[in-house]
Symmetry: C2
Subunit: 439 residues, 2 copies
């Protein structure tokens, strides 16, 4: 049996208490799998009097994080407080104290990853963050290790469970966006302030991490164009279905060779029979294409206490394995675990580059000749139409029109939409969604 490894746990909320429970309840499994014992030696909590789902082991609680960093029995600091300011401070101090770090903090990695990874490298310690993307699904580890021999050509991922829950509820229960959002809140799948999720910011954070890991080089998440799902109506979901598709909020990255990486987040049409279309409710999935492995997909629960904690404990076990690889518990940190800081920063190309198929939905006055005007503009701009559906209700009233284009360039499409939106019979800006027919 190898020497015991000590954990300093920062945060005892949903994920932190889950980590403590897994480390306690599955202790013998973990000991068997890594070859030695892993024990929580100290816990820092913000609020000592807070009522918690899982009982806080009071004998382990420390008053200040410095106690964790000074403790020679602690080799790994696990940061699960969330937020950016305090979490960053703790992680930086931990790396300086030559402690290995495990975190689930996606915003922190997306915003300050570069600084943090540089510091880890300088101090020859590891930092792992599997739980930051896709909860318990080992997506990052798979890209980093299983697919390590490949250049990653593209990623199509459903990484925001809130949005996928809402879109699934709209589809299966015919709920409006607002009603589906209320249901998501009631069931704990959406925050009281859901903007971060439904506007696509959270998915953009995760895509920045995915692209950074898979392409080499750190990615500034601010360069990733993102669109949310607020504009989607039940009508759009029904029309997409009629055309043979489902609507998913996708985080997409495509390598464009020497030019850079096309990366964006937005609602997208995926084929009914595809693996991504089968991702229901709050689940997550990432379809990753490598130059030799072809397409692989990783699927599971993208959030929740135990799935996320499962990934955190998986990371802890990897650090412990690495510690045990060297007899004196010091190990040379290999570059594979990190963003590759010595590689040039990935060049993120702005938004979707096309050419692509598109779904367009217009709100028009329902009267003879309107469809003709729209299709006429599309034709003159060189945008071909693959399928069209007009929902005739009452002459003179507002009514939606949906259509699917043939492959069209961004330029042609933009020109057409601009002209259509200027028509007097058109009420709202046209809803434009890309279509990915070959997933």
């Amino acid at each position: 049996m190898r020497p015991e490894i000590g954990i300093g746990l920062v945060g005892f909320g949903t994920v932190g208490s889950g980590v403590y429970r897994i480390l306690t309840r599955n202790a013998s499994l973990i000991r068997r799998r890594v070859g030695g014992a892993v024990k929580v030696k100290g816990i820092l909590v913000k609020d000592h009097s807070k009522r918690r789902t899982h009982a806080l082991p009071r004998q382990l609680v420390v008053k200040h994080y410095a106690e964790l960093l000074k403790n020679p029995e602690i080799q790994i600091i696990v940061e699960l407080v969330g937020g950016v300011v305090f979490a960053k401070k703790i992680i930086i101090e931990a790396l300086r104290a030559k402690k290995h770090v495990v975190t689930a903090n996606k915003a922190l990695i997306a915003l300050h990853g570069k600084e943090i990874f540089q510091l880890a490298e300088k101090n020859n310690v590891d930092i792992f963050f599997e739980a930051a993307v896709g909860g318990g699904i080992p997506i990052l580890r798979s890209i980093r290790e299983g697919l390590a021999a490949n250049h990653i050509r593209s990623i199509h991922a459903i990484v925001n469970g809130t949005c996928n829950f809402i879109l699934t509820a709209m589809e299966e229960a015919n709920l409006s966006f607002e009603a589906a959002l209320q249901q998501a809140k009631a069931m704990g799948f959406a925050e009281a302030d859901p903007r971060f999720d439904i506007e696509g910011t959270d998915a953009a954070h995760k895509l920045a991490i995915l692209v950074g890991l898979s392409q080499g080089g750190y990615v500034n998440f601010k360069k990733i164009h993102h669109v949310g799902i607020k504009a989607i109506s039940v009508y759009d979901i029904q029309m997409a279905k009629r055309f043979g598709y489902k609507i998913k909020l996708l985080a997409v990255a495509k390598s464009q060779g020497g030019k850079g990486i096309e990366a964006w987040v937005g609602p997208t049409l995926v084929p009914q029979g595809s693996m991504l279309a089968a991702v229901h409710g709050s689940n997550n999935a990432a379809l990753v294409e490598g130059d030799y492995v072809g397409r692989t997909l990783f699927y599971g629960q993208g959030a929740g206490s135990y799935p996320t904690a499962s990934a955190v404990v998986g990371d802890i076990m990897e650090v412990v394995r690495n510690l045990y690889a060297d007899d004196d518990l010091s190990y040379t940190v290999p570059p594979l675990g990190h963003f590759d800081l010595h590689h040039q920063e990935a060049n993120i190309l702005p938004g979707l580059l096309g050419p692509s198929h598109y779904y367009l939905r217009f709100q028009v006055v329902d009267k003879p000749g309107v469809l003709g005007k729209i299709t006429g503009i599309l034709g003159r701009c060189g945008v071909g139409i693959q399928a069209v559906h007009q929902d005739l209700k009452q002459i003179g009233k507002k009514s939606p029109v949906a259509l699917l284009t043939h492959v069209a360039s961004q330029d042609k499409l933009k020109k057409a939409v601009l002209a259509i939106d200027r028509l007097a019979v058109v009420f709202e800006p046209t809803l434009v969604m890309p279509v990915e027919p070959n997933l």
Copy 2:
């Protein structure tokens, strides 16, 4: 930059030449990701004069495998000859020579894994075999690392691409089993002698490896009950669809607590909208359920030169990372990489244990009262009926009847089927397939 790591390649067929190509073409990517160069230092081939898809680098060819084992510049032996006798000999000699081993040989691991892993442990070297299950999909690595914190509760896997290709062709092109098999042969998805695949033996090998890794303890594949897909007709596929299901050849393992592990391979009905139902053609997938992570799924190409070679190179890169973790390129091999030999052997329970929903198909004489006789027997045996379909063609002719049962115990079902098969109006033994309604 760290010292160069040398590879001895045994076999230069489909997978071996793919490995050589990836190591050569993606050399700079691999060097960047592991921190040092990885180079093939010697290649052993059976037949020097054979024509090959990829040119054999003749300057690297050795006459005898002993040359690879004696070469101090070679740290890793990659076995890709297939078969059991020669492959086993090479691997055993390599482990004795304290070389790390990477192999894609599923039959060898399933049949002689225990002996091989014991020898690896004794010599403190690693053996990796990701490519043995699911080609390029990192299923084993995910169970071993990403889900390492979990007890694995169940596995439902599509691990034989030949069978999945045949079942997909039967469904989508309305082909008979024989016609679909011919198409699979013509397209290179089935061997000239396809028995190993279509009888479920290959899937049972892979399930033995999956169960061994996930449950701890070595699994003797001979204990795994397996049924192939020869008995499936287009009628069954259509009826399954009518009942809301697809037919897939599944490799299934379910932990039954202290009693052991239910493990079997057989055609099974999975719900139309499920992730496993969306696995088309020759693709593979494994749905793995852990006690904390919940359900995760891993999907991709399960065979082929490059996908398989991608997994082999991923394994090579893991060994290289581990070598670099210790300054003198010797590392203490952690137990996580292996089957856990010190854990008691998993107790494999024979076949499906039920209770379960079942699909039953009878070939009967089409005349009044026949359906009544069958349902009468089921009723008397305590097997409830959920749905039934009788395909009326011509009175007096042979005609199929399909039905779906409510949850029934194995005992009750067996008793009923035995009685039904004794009826004079029944032509063939009843086709029985389990239904997994909650995937």
